[in-house]
Point group: D2
Chain length 386, copies 4
């Protein structure tokens, strides 16, 4: 197989998981702008997600968020998805939208609230059993807003205790992915604020506990690809929540704010052997003002483009320059791949996969947007908290 053929083959195997909630409405604390045609049920979200996979060919699974996607019959939901060509993916827990969680969930000072939170996580594992999901994605909004508000260290003890109980419950082939976040909604301390904290907990829990990197969850200036390389070296990179940001956790389309950073991240993934199913590539975005399905298609394409460039890096030439201490030469090898216009290559890949080479145009021509606007009238549009 030629090198280009290998790149193409790799690109055809790529899998980007899309999140059910990105198909629903989202916004900021100032306003959620409703969009016509937005799904009202988990099934409608899956139907939209199936469209993304239909046109990109590389978005075969859909992450669920509990309780936003709670249904009575998960097997039926899975069947519904499969009938449309997609599968259910990671289960995302929610311990931040119940009134009880005002001061935290699994780290709350009250044992009763902690119990409730852990029970929710255990229920999520039950759902994983029903959906056949591999990954439980844990993001905790826990933290404090004011110095002194709670005991920083004891909250870590509570966190460790709760995670341990959930870890024990995980079945064969199931994993927990622990997400960290710099800040928001907590504004003084966050109980899992950085990769180091997530890593330390996962290390103690065991091999089924892995760290997930949300690309929008870091302090300004943080070198994310370094974290990716380090977690891969430690065998602790469980996956990504992709999105992009200029400021904080902006949750913009991945690759929209800093496509070069996305490329550097994907390069470290490839270089570190992380381009495998063991690392879950997920989107976690908010399409506050733009049309949701096209935004997700664009995001998937942005990941593809960054991956294609990462795969095109001449690793041998790079290594030679690095070993020789040739700073400019090594940088030039990397930049050569980045500066390549990989869109023609990806069009070829899509054609070889039996897809339209232009997913955006194909989706636009499909009439789906108009159809759902017409059909999805009445009811409660999906969104955070619903």
């Amino acid at each position: 197989m030629t090198e280009l053929a290998a790149v193409k083959a790799a690109l055809k195997t790529q899998a980007v998981e899309t999140p059910s909630w990105a198909y629903g409405n989202s916004g900021t604390r100032f306003k959620v702008f409703a969009q016509a045609g937005v799904p009202r049920t988990p099934r409608e979200k899956l139907a939209d997600a199936a469209k993304v996979h239909e046109y990109t060919g590389v978005a075969p699974t859909v992450a669920l968020h509990i309780p936003w996607d709670t249904v009575d019959d998960y097997a039926a939901l899975a069947k519904y998805a499969e009938d449309r060509g997609v599968k259910l993916g990671a289960i995302n827990s929610n311990t931040f939208q119940d009134d009880d969680y005002k001061l935290g969930s699994i780290c709350h000072p009250s044992a009763a609230v902690r119990r409730k939170a852990v029970d929710h996580l255990l229920e999520c594992v039950d759902i994983m059993d029903a959906t056949g999901s591999r990954d439980l994605k844990l993001w905790f909004a826990d933290g404090t807003n004011y110095p002194g508000q709670d005991d920083v260290r004891e909250r870590q003890d509570r966190l460790a205790e709760g995670l341990a109980e959930v870890y024990e419950r995980l079945g064969e082939g199931q994993r927990m992915l622990l997400e960290y976040k710099f800040f928001e909604p907590a504004f003084y301390t966050t109980d899992v604020p950085d990769w180091g904290t997530a890593y330390a907990h996962c290390l103690k829990l065991g091999p089924k506990a892995q760290v997930v990197v949300d690309t929008g969850h870091h302090a300004p200036g943080t070198n994310i690809e370094f974290i990716v390389a380090t977690l891969l070296r430690e065998g602790k990179l469980g996956g990504f929540d992709f999105n992009s940001r200029f400021y904080a956790d902006d949750d913009l389309m991945v690759g929209a704010a800093d496509p070069f950073q996305l490329f550097r991240i994907m390069y470290e993934v490839v270089r570190g052997g992380g381009f495998t199913p063991e690392v879950a590539f997920m989107l976690d975005q908010c399409h506050n003002i733009e049309a949701k399905i096209p935004a997700i298609i664009r995001s998937v394409m942005n990941v593809q483009e960054a991956t294609a460039k990462a795969l095109l890096v001449d690793r041998e030439a790079l290594r030679s320059a690095q070993v020789a201490g040739d700073v400019l030469g090594a940088n030039a090898v990397l930049m050569d791949a980045y500066n390549t216009d990989v869109r023609p290559l990806l069009r070829e890949v899509r054609e070889e996969m039996g897809l339209d080479p232009d997913p955006m145009a194909a989706y636009a021509a499909s009439g789906w947007a108009a159809k759902v606007v017409e059909e999805r009238v009445g009811g409660q549009q999906a969104g955070w908290g619903a």
Copy 2:
């Protein structure tokens, strides 16, 4: 008058405006936690604000937010306030919570939306006429989320045009205060992102247009007191929206995150001749997880303490050390004031004003919190968007 007497006299004249919306519910995009006893109407907000003034003695005015505080009869509302010992303060416009404003308001690409936004601002001036308010506070959520989304420069033209129309409408003794904000809810460009932009517009508009500094609206590391000093020097500091933050626009209680910064800001205010009614000292905070009235009382007290310390700076000694190039000596003069425990002084001031020396305890003992929890049942609690 001795120097200490002068400090006390100044502290007795201090006026901190509290915002009607801080008495209502607020939260993050993740969750708004409702609190029992929260006001449901503008009158109930004013009743709460009157309590803050009753116990602190330095919170005599209350800012309104339109349309959250829209009423049929503003004269009656003003009378209601005055009967409780407070007055109506600045009118805050809202051009961000209507569906039309998804892509902006006064900077929107569509002339119709811009017209609607300007009309709202003009209506706010009408309300000012009715309430006798001096200041129209303008904060625009306008901006873009993605590169290319709109024309950055043309949006400035639209902004200038809209502001000019409103400026013309201002009556004798009325002002517009233009607020800037680094980001949020817009995540790529914000149309008034920094003091320079606000200043440039105000300069062209004329003397009734002034810049307002929200202490949470800056890039990480920004030296806010420098901006304060500079705006005072330029005659363009119209006021403050006080709050504090560790990360972004956290809207925590002022003085909670960095009391030393608040002191430095107040020092520049005092030094620059800004401790006058021409500079409006307002709070703009969100009490997402803490009790609202006590949080506002604490915030007012934090401003008082910072002001007291700023007034206590030995300006003559400071100047001597500065002129001599004595870095450590000059710093020590400033730190001496900061390190002073001014709480006893403020207790004295309060007693001399006929107040309880401990506003927090006095409010707690007043029974107001229990009373409103009991009385304010049913209806729609006030909050953003309501």
Copy 3:
């Protein structure tokens, strides 16, 4: 002329000024690593700069730094440059490396030090008269390290006074470019910390005073292209000091850290009518660990590539999408240009200019690097402070 021909024509007229000091040694406070072959004199710097122009065709002028490039006979120096195909460009002042400037220069508390600093600036204008330079570039290291150290406001008064004296001295066709910087070497206040401060001073000074944007001199997350658009709209953008950074004022090769940002900046330049000689495009970089001449060639090429992409933006399509409020469509138009591989186009442009299409390879093959290593032995290598 076809559109592509127009783009090519524009690229051929591009002019990027390279800084004499980038050819000398530089480093961090931890270490300056000396490189073999580095120039020892202003003439040797000009000889190196001439090489950059020889191979890129778009680096026709060289900025001088006084006193690092002080010579007895500037006319002779200019002649020396012209004989090698380049011209002398902006004069950069230095009021930070003399022992007297420990507490500032033009803002120093002592009138004597201020006098010395202003005299230096006036001398720089004398040199401009001799070299025929148009621009005096002013960057002040002035500021304070500790709260209280000096009077923030009075320092602005001193700054204004000093600048006014220098402004008066400017001749016909001469300008002063005032640079702002977020921090470093001052660590508490900087006397010109942001574009707003520079703008306010330039506005009062008059039309010959313009703001210069150093791309590394902003707070984390600052939207630089917004500033560029705003200054162009105000008629106050005098030029750029290009470089790139991941953290602070890293002074890396422009385009190395965030090529997408450089493109967005160049797009606003083009859109705002700033791609003219009235805006000076200068590099200001430090090649601490990489070979200097190739690093500068690469930087010039990076500016060219960003410019080419900016020129290729389909402005009509962009405008249509913007006016229609088509967020994704407008973003896609911009990204189409960015994702284009413009290197083939630039190779064509170079060939049409009679240049080697690959400046890096051509320089490498020239033998210049080996030649100067051999010749430039002994003496004092140029560097900051020398």
Copy 4:
């Protein structure tokens, strides 16, 4: 013992290590301003450090930096120190000021350079044997400036290998303290950029490897006290390099930029059982523009004041409020301690220790500054690189 007596007793046992290099000249990449009277030899630095201890009573040890403090006879140097009332403290390695280290030291692509770096570290342990020092403090300037420059992951392998060799060499009672730093002098990747990386390495190395927290080495907005609490919980906090900053690694006097943060850090130290000799409290500062000895005395006093406030926190009341979920109450308990003016208490402590209650005044009156200015004439002033 009453509670206040216990606080006083604790304060009397406090030990802050001062760094030999802070007595020498330092600066930024722009300029090092020389100061009269600065030490020229390790002995002169120790003599100055002894003054700090003489007047504060809590600075009994002095950190050395190799090779800046290299001497032939360390036993004699130790004796010299002890004769003046101080002891030698931690040994700080330097693998950043040799020309070989341009691309790194222990992480350099070349095995020969790595060998040289590790040999230097081993030599430092030899010196520890001679001086009786417990701690080897390791800060690596290693990193890269450009994407692609070197293999991020392989550099971690090299780091691990080098550290392991040094770890093996540590004797009974000796430790290595691994320091992390966000950036500078490397501007793209830093090989130990955050506490997570330092922690992961220390964990693998074993109990003699501990993390050291330099308070200036974090991304903007990082919650340092959280890291302190976490490292203490993990048994991995080896010590502090105290200083303060507004922007990057400004190395200002500790407590000068954010005294509230210093207090919060010291509170977590006290709360987490870290106020013991197992945690080394060291200063690491640069007094670029202020007099060095008084700056260090002030810094030691700032640490004392923060510690006193931390010790005064009413832990029982705090815990009650925390357990009750009383956000404002818990915050108020912490703030009560912070707002206390502890200077009178510390004056008492000093008097009870037989010291002058005002160390700054006592030092100023001692005549030492004038004496060393007179005596230390000629020779080479100590500074970075010398």
